[in-house]
Amino acid sequence: MNIIFRGIKRHIKKDFKQVPSNQKSKPFVGVFTSIDENISFIKNIFSCSDDLIIKELNVRNKRGILVFLNTMTDSDKIQNNILSPVLEANGDQLDSVLKSKFLKSDNLIKAKEELLNGSCIILFDRDQEFYRLEVAISKARAVIEPNNEQVIKGSHEGFIENLLINLHLIRKSIRTPDLIMEHLSVGEHIQSKLTMVYMKDLANKEIIKEFKRRIDYISMDHIPSIGSLQELIEDSTWSPFPQILSTERVDRVIGHLNEGRVAIFMEGSPSCLLIPVTFFAFFHSPDDYNSRWMIGTFIRSMRLMSIAIAVNLPAIYIAVIGFHFEVLPDDLVLPVVSSIRNIPFPPLIEALVMELTIELIREAGVRLPARIGQTIGIVGGLVIGDAVVRAGLVSNTMIVVVAITAVAAYSIPSTEMSDAVRFLRFPLMILASTFGFVGIVFGFMFTLAHLCRLESFGTPYFAPWAPFRLKDLKDTFIRLPLWKFNTRPLDSNPKMLRKQSLSRGWKTNESNRE
């Protein structure tokens, strides 16, 4: 109740919020005429940090300085790209070298930002401008398949912590001028680079506008990670369901870009956020499209069934043995009775203990090195699973139920959705233990109503179920053959709905050829 109330209060507050804070104009400090003034200004900005290197550079009796942060720059690059051409240039060549290799600017605040990004700056005496060149160290790890989203067939590329390489991976796969990349920055004190990627001819303008509006409101000192960004721009944080899809797979992002969605990258983060998404996007995997469509359909429907199992099965079991065991088939009654007869706890406690144990085993295993992880698996799985039954604390059937539930929950491809589903079964279990099936029905109704009400950047979250669109079901519960997907799904409001026409036209035209 309290939660709902607070949620409502929050909504009311949102409407009265004032203008965004960080839309102030960029400060400007011109380059000083005297080089010493410039040096002291820069030194002042960086508080004489020890990695700020200022070198005197005298070219043809013209006094100049070379400024860079040696923690951000590559000394080889400085030597090859700056020092040798500048020093070797004789006569009038210097000007042309400077003009061709360097970028010019006259704002010292800009100079500060560039230094932080790994640029090197050259200032000459009595010049109102400075020259800069990026010589940053690039220490990127290899592009490998992300561990948390592996596929059997298809591309094995994944994003890494380097923004530029991530964008390169996207641009490389979508070679069209329609692909737009927009750089943004967030964070009041420490700025983080964001890049928004979308297809100009597909992505809905409203969504782009809405995203920028939300970004403008962020007035945090520092955005630590893309997860925090997600929380700041998400529609409803009072929901267990994620409304933004985050992925580390290149092919997944490309697929979504082609459906008119917007991707957001952040410097230093290997995941990419996709907006707007639907509930069902979390159950798709690139494997669905790379395997044959019948198998894809089968596996996808299994996955959707697994949510139902993961959310409901423990609750149903509790309701059955606590309230209405007459629903059990005749032949099942005695085996169940014989296993639960001597259990000292009520079903809810029994189920909670086992479910929480599984969560703990998972949590313990996540952060351990692989070798110790095996030990946890053995201790958790075998020792607890078997011993707890032999000790008569938990019934055999409960172990079966908990195990099926765990397997079902982990078969959901997205970790966030899997977390949401695993979390959701606890309230349902409590409802089942106090109200039986009635409680489950109410809990389920509440969840469904919540899902129908949720929005992701102004688009319905539970599409294509609510609002219902039969055409889009082709690619949600099932996956029909690719040549059937003639239109894009409507939920992301793409500008162009048509995707293809008669991709297998060769079959009907076969007779014409002869």
Partner: protein, 369 residues
């Protein structure tokens, strides 16, 4: 303070449901109920409950059954007495069988079933049966191959249902038939065999709600065919040849493959005539003498004649028992209400004139001649 209040509110809301909790581990499941009359004309209720024996390490626990009984004025009264005797709460929601002793059934079965329809926790999927002698004795049998008595009797009834010895019915389906004045029910008739096994020995015929006679298996199958309630199989064995060297060669066994029944109710001068035409397509399963095709004409004729005679006998029997298994009364109420009004509501069935013909035709005789 605010937090405590909201937690209390949530708890008040959630814990209301616990009142209805009905834990399975505390329940003692009843698998068979039996009703008998004691010599003092009191009701003797017998229950059979499963006893689960923990097998050491084996996957399946052994299930035996134990019988408790108590006498009282009503079923609930007796049940309360049994409840005092056993550990746990008696629960009839998974009950599979309700058995009546012959004497109890003779005085009427409806009063003891009242509680089963009234209390929603009772199982409506249970099967009814009448037992020769005392029903409670049948609960104590010790069959060798199946230690759980209810499972055993249940299986016996299922196989009898498949072989069209008894109709497939539950208390739910019987309820409307039982209270209908124009229709009577037939129930499985069981017999105890040397304290070891139970045998389905045909059908118990009910006159309204009272037991009034029984039919042996072959006749009960024929009755079910006449009622158009054939199960999976309907097998007969008939004597068709005379004075053969081997006695086996005198007989033929056949199964009814397909059937058509026509039942017509006609009223002439307030007299009710019923004609039943049964058209059986049969397949020969056993004919030790051999060469069915040669004999086919004769067999068809002979079997038709024999079955017609049998059918007539069956009808005489059910008329004697005054058991309107065909629901002729219902038809009269529906189509001839005026005739029904002048009929004797109790004994109308005895006065109905039946004209029964059975036609048998061999359509299969297996892969030998």
């Amino acid at each position: 303070m605010k937090g405590i209040k909201s937690i209390l509110l949530v708890l008040c809301f959630l814990l209301t449901g616990c009142w209805d909790q009905h834990l399975m581990k505390n329940a003692v499941l009843v698998q068979i109920l039996s009703f008998d009359l004691t010599p003092k004309e009191e009701l003797l209720l017998g229950v059979s409950i499963p006893i689960i024996e923990e097998s050491s390490g084996g996957p399946q626990a052994m299930v035996k059954s134990e019988t408790f009984s108590a006498s009282g004025h009503t079923p609930r009264d007796s049940r309360l007495k049994i409840d005092h005797e056993i550990a746990g709460i008696l629960d009839t929601s998974k009950n599979k069988l309700i058995l009546f002793g012959e004497r109890m059934a003779g005085t009427g079965i409806y009063p003891s079933l009242d509680v089963i329809w009234r209390d929603p926790r009772n199982s409506l999927g249970a099967t009814l049966g009448v037992v020769e002698g005392e029903a409670v004795d049948l609960l104590g049998i010790k069959p060798k191959h199946e230690t759980n008595v209810s499972e055993y009797i249940q299986d016996a009834l299922t196989s009898a249902e498949e072989n069209s010895v008894i109709p497939s019915q539950t208390i739910q389906t019987l309820a409307s038939e039982m209270i209908d004045p124009g229709e009577d029910t037939v129930l499985p008739f069981l017999k105890m065999n040397k304290k070891k096994s139970a045998v389905v020995v045909g059908l118990a015929l009910m006159n309204d709600k009272k037991y009034s006679g029984n039919l042996p298996p072959q006749e009960s199958t024929l009755l079910l065919l006449l009622e158009n309630k054939k199960g999976k199989n309907a097998r007969f064995t008939k004597k068709v040849n005379k004075d053969d060297q081997h006695v086996v060669n005198e007989y033929i066994s056949f199964n009814v493959q397909d059937m058509k029944r026509k039942l017509k109710v006609q009223v002439k001068d307030r007299e009710v005539f019923v004609s039943i035409n049964l058209d059986l397509k049969i397949s020969v399963e056993e004919y030790p003498k051999g060469d069915v095709p040669k004999d086919i004409e004769r067999l068809n004729k002979l079997l038709s004649k024999e079955l017609t005679e049998d059918a007539k006998q069956v009808i005489t029997k059910i008329q004697q028992a005054n058991c309107d298994a065909f629901g002729i009364g219902r038809r009269l109420i529906a189509f001839h209400p005026k005739t029904w009004e002048v009929q004797d509501k109790k004994d109308y069935f005895k006065n109905i004139k039946f004209n029964t013909t059975v036609k048998a035709e061999i359509i299969k005789h297996g892969i030998v001649r």
